[in-house]
Symmetry: C2
Subunit: 215 residues, 2 copies
């Protein structure tokens, strides 16, 4: 027997900021909160930690329930532990963010969970402290993408440099000079041109690139 029994216990939830990139903008998947209090309000994807799973696995499980996706890039962001953060009961939330390729996202899940993609720059009112969480996650994502090849998680397998630049601009919230951007990318050893040309997105056609970390 342990000496822990004199201590209180808490509901522990996981909230996921699921980022996607669509229509040239960074988006977040939200849905309508399915329980009281605040039922029907806009909410991040979340759920409660179960006894038989680690907090990390809990995050993965919840992500899978809401997107059908496995093997997703996920990072822990922070724990939120204010006493009154949830007006119902005391809930401590551990927050993760995930990057998914929206092309892999099966839209039937949207209907199932009343989920939708919203632009990070035009967030609707979110319940509890969820807005805070999104902004913190977006900041961290911005720091990370400068050094690590995480763009591969948000983009299709083949992409033009214009699309890649739009992704960076949307994450960082700044505009980037095209020449500087292209030079910087050409110096990365994990992004390489394929021989292919994309004719759909422009008249002239643009070279398609791909991430090549695991080649």
């Amino acid at each position: 027997m342990t000496a822990y029994q004199s201590y209180p216990q808490f509901y522990v939830s996981v909230d996921c900021i699921i980022f996607g990139f669509a229509e040239g903008h960074l988006k977040v998947l939200i849905h309508q909160r399915p329980y009281e209090p605040g039922m029907g309000e806009q909410s991040l994807i979340g759920g409660f930690v179960q006894t038989n799973e680690s907090v990390d696995s809990s995050a993965k499980r919840i992500l899978k329930e809401f997107t059908g996706l496995d093997n997703v890039y996920m990072q822990q962001l922070a724990a939120y532990g204010e006493v009154e953060r949830d007006p119902g009961e005391r809930v401590i939330s551990i927050v993760y963010y995930a990057l998914i390729n929206v092309d892999n996202y099966d839209q039937t899940f949207s209907d199932l969970h009343n989920a939708k993609w919203v632009d990070v720059d035009h967030l609707p009112t979110l319940c509890l402290d969820h807005r805070d969480m999104v902004q913190k996650a977006r900041r961290k994502l911005g720091e990370t993408i400068k050094n690590e090849p995480i763009g591969s998680n948000l983009l299709p397998r083949y992409f033009t440099l214009s699309l890649l630049q739009a992704l960076y601009e949307s994450i960082l919230g700044t505009s980037i000079d095209k020449r500087n951007f292209r030079r910087a990318i050409s110096e990365k050893d994990y992004i390489k041109p394929t021989g292919m040309i994309d004719k759909a997105s422009s008249r002239r056609g643009a070279t398609l690139y791909q991430f090549t970390m695991n080649d």
Copy 2:
């Protein structure tokens, strides 16, 4: 009534990596774990979250219990949530690190809690996943000190540049060129020379500096 009651609850602990700087090295305060399982093993300073306090306040309370100190620089590091991380019962731990000036640390607390300072570069075996926590905290501390004037929390009010450099070297785990270091510091607007000379630490005597963020 909320719909949460069907979900499990968990013990939530706080572990604190309390950093101090003494004898030219970055140190961590540890003590002997006061409860089973693993009673008597070396452990970070920790405790359990109470119902009436936020997780942040819990960390502050625990820090105060073990050091007597208030108003300390503290940052949340991460949540640790593996199912079997604690061999006793399921405990989810939220980890903070704190920076204190060891001169302000009342040594009577050491005796009270069997606490002692250990060198971060020569950690003894720690219980559970505490070693991991320390290393993660040290990495984050290193990133932070490059840009922010957090050294003020670890140093006495007045200090020589040699001491400051030793602090940076110990946190970063590298040696730094003296001239480069001094130039970099002189460009910071939050560290300024006082007119005073310290005669204790060297024959020649060295200018004493201070942090001046709030002047």
